[in-house]
């Protein structure tokens, strides 16, 4: 097993004729994902490497049975593309697009939650269940099937961590990049219960970074609800404090949000925290009893 995507995932690629969309549609198909359709308004009837292109997601879903969408549409049009996918009936929308205004994402995230359609991202690398399917921009070849779930706010740092696991002989069940924007569809707190319930996942690597309080909240969840071992890493220990203006951010976070505070909260919840990325492999081996 794995979570969210597998051999039964049927993917529609929104923005398939753009530079990034076409490159990653090909790479995704080459990895073995069932890429059943592409969508670019006005280019319906064309195809890309045998993938049929439609004008609307609704038509793509109707004709191909697509159940998952990935979005490579530019930021000004991406919120609408996400809503289009949700209303067309897919169950999972993965928004890779970077640079969407926060005020645009707030109603979109709420609408998808009301519709019970899961959104990953935006501004995320996507997710992969190694050996089964990938939906997103991560290099597939660094992954191996196995027992470790990976969840991360970062993109490339996730690849680095997966690479560390793979060279330590440890495969992954599913790896998810949840995205770095302030408003995202799926957070650590949403992913951890899925890994807890997945019989194939035996341990979890959680990769956080400075800002917000998602890691602190996840630490509480792990402490009270999770029986599987979790290993964490936090990026930004040496990041300089920004030129902070205004008090509202500090009032919301109540002093939380720094790397030191996050590492302390994780430690207190009994979660081993790697000091450097290459410590993650050994810590997970230990957690798995290898």
């Amino acid at each position: 097993m794995s979570i969210l995507i597998d051999q039964n995932t049927k993917l529609v690629v929104q923005g398939i004729t753009g530079r990034d969309g076409s490159f990653h549609a090909r790479a995704t198909k080459a990895y073995g994902t069932q890429v059943v359709a592409g969508v670019t308004p006005g280019k319906g009837g064309q195809s890309l490497d045998g993938i049929p292109i439609f004008n609307t997601v609704a038509e793509a879903v109707e004709k191909t049975g697509a159940n998952t969408s990935v979005i490579y549409v530019p930021p000004a049009f991406a919120p609408d593309a996400i809503l289009e996918a949700a209303h067309a009936g897919v169950v999972l929308v993965v928004a890779v697009t970077e640079g969407i205004p926060t005020m645009e994402m707030i109603p979109v995230v709420r609408e998808l939650a009301r519709m019970h359609v899961r959104l990953i991202g935006p501004n995320c690398p996507g997710l992969i269940s190694p050996g089964k399917a990938k939906v997103g921009i991560m290099p597939g070849e660094i992954h191996r099937p196995g027992p470790v779930g990976v969840v991360s706010r970062s993109g490339t740092l996730t690849y680095e961590m997966v690479h560390q696991l793979t060279i330590n002989g440890i495969g992954q069940s599913t790896c998810i990049g949840i995205g770095g924007d302030p408003i995202i569809g799926t957070n650590f707190m949403d992913v951890l219960p899925l890994f807890q319930a997945d019989p194939e996942t035996k341990a979890v690597v959680m990769i956080g970074e400075i800002g917000g309080t998602a890691e602190e909240e996840a630490a509480q969840y792990v402490k009270t609800k999770m029986t599987k071992p979790v290993v964490a890493f936090i990026a930004g220990q040496t990041a300089p404090p920004g030129k902070r203006m205004g008090h509202a951010g500090a009032i919301i976070s109540g002093g939380k949000g720094t790397a030191a505070e996050k590492m302390r909260a994780l430690g207190e919840a009994g979660i081993p925290v790697a000091m450097i990325p290459s410590e993650v492999g050994p810590l997970i081996r230990k957690a798995l009893g290898l």
Binding site: A27, I106, P139, L157, E160, K243, R244, H247, G249, S278
Partner: protein, 383 residues
């Protein structure tokens, strides 16, 4: 993006929030002229992107035009947290009966804007938040529906029992929420919102931070950017789509992705070096970005070695390699370069870099960082 108080006041004014009169000036003579026009006592406030202006001596009260001129000459040109004051706001001094706090910011956890309001506004509001959090009223609102009148009344009465002032505060709150959504703010704050001795509610200060991702649809707000607060390197980096923050160390870092860039800086420190910068070349890379990155890093005379840590995904390693070849050709770099490229199109990248001399390859992040630290030390960098 940060904007100045005098610019934020204009946004507030345009949305009907009461703000005191006043004008912005950049010379003591202008300050004197404005003070004469305003008449009476005036406040002179440094316009810099830094908090704690008052405590740093950047806010002064003057009794008349001559004193205003004198104080302006002290404030103009002074440094607050490393930033030079080039402009001041000159505004009529108001008699304060009470100071409240109103703020709106995006709450990541709830996925909604959060209003924070307190009867105990002023410079110690953060301390209030820590020591007596119950003194701050919190309320989320849906930006599509806007803050309803009844919600605004509930918040206003929670911080001011008097009906007349509470009604005014509620009106300010509703307008603040409209402004917050209309300009795509990430923060809008009034500290303090005051009650004058005459019982009027006025926004004495104005702070607005804008969402960078939304500037494309607000060209008039994008034009408010104060270029004097950016170094030429920072400006060039921003225009080329690089995320760059200058630091104090000797190892120039070129990384793709903010998380990996921070982890690379952490690792430089872990292995006994100091990063010279945070630099994220971003996703979808074009070779030109790498050329710009090298140019900016080599402007810093403290840099003794350059470290490339690229994990290809949407960024293709061959694009980065092409940029590096181009940069070497154009800039004749003398510094040692350690390069670690892994992921998408890694083999093509290795082929492109074959003919380039002076590069130290590394396969892992640990190895790359250790080599860069060692090279920086051997070329005279202090760690």
């Amino acid at each position: 993006m940060n904007i100045h108080e005098y610019q934020a006041r204009e946004i507030f004014r345009a949305h009907g929030i009461p703000v005191p009169g006043g004008e912005v000036a950049s010379t003591p003579e202008e300050v004197e002229a404005i003070a004469s026009r305003l008449g009476g006592r005036v406040v002179i406030k440094a316009q810099v992107h830094a908090g704690g202006r008052g405590k740093a001596g950047g806010v002064k009260l003057a009794t008349g035009p001559a004193e205003a001129r004198e104080m302006a000459s002290a404030i103009l040109g002074m440094e607050i947290k490393g930033l030079t004051v080039l402009k001041v706001l000159v505004a009529p001094a108001l008699d304060i009966a009470h100071e409240y706090y109103l703020g709106v910011a995006v709450d990541r956890k709830a996925g909604l804007p959060l209003i924070m309001a307190s009867r105990e506004g002023g410079i110690d509001i953060e301390e209030v938040a820590v020591t007596r959090p119950q003194a701050i009223v919190r309320h989320h609102f849906d930006p599509q529906a806007g803050l309803r009148a009844f919600e605004a009344r509930q918040i206003a009465f929670a911080i001011e029992p008097d009906g007349k002032q509470a009604a005014q505060i509620a009106a300010v709150l509703q307008k603040l929420c409209v402004a917050f959504a209309a300009v795509d703010a990430s923060l809008a704050e009034i500290n303090p919102l005051i009650k004058t001795l005459d019982g009027e509610i006025v926004a004495l200060d104005a702070k607005v931070n804008l969402d960078d991702n939304a500037l494309f649809r607000h060209p008039e707000l994008a034009a408010l950017r104060d270029r004097s607060t950016e170094t030429p390197d920072e400006e060039e980096a921003r225009q080329k789509g690089l995320s760059f923050i200058k630091l104090d160390g000797e190892i120039g870092c070129v990384v793709n992705g903010a998380g990996l860039a921070m982890a690379t800086m952490d690792l430089v420190k872990h292995f006994g070096g100091r990063p010279a910068n945070f630099l994220d070349i971003g996703g979808s890379s074009d070779p030109e970005k790498v050329v710009t990155a090298i140019k900016i890093i080599t402007h810093d005379p403290k840099v003794k070695a350059i470290l490339f840590n690229i994990f290809g995904g949407i960024t293709r390693c061959d694009d980065v390699a092409r940029g590096l070849v181009e940069a070497v050709k154009r800039t004749q770099i003398k510094l040692p370069i350690v390069i670690r490229l892994t992921g998408t199109n890694e083999a093509e990248a290795r082929e492109i870099l074959k003919g380039v001399s002076g590069l130290t390859p590394a396969t892992s992040m640990d190895e790359a960082v250790q080599k860069a630290v060692a090279l920086a030390k051997s070329t005279g960098g202090a760690a």
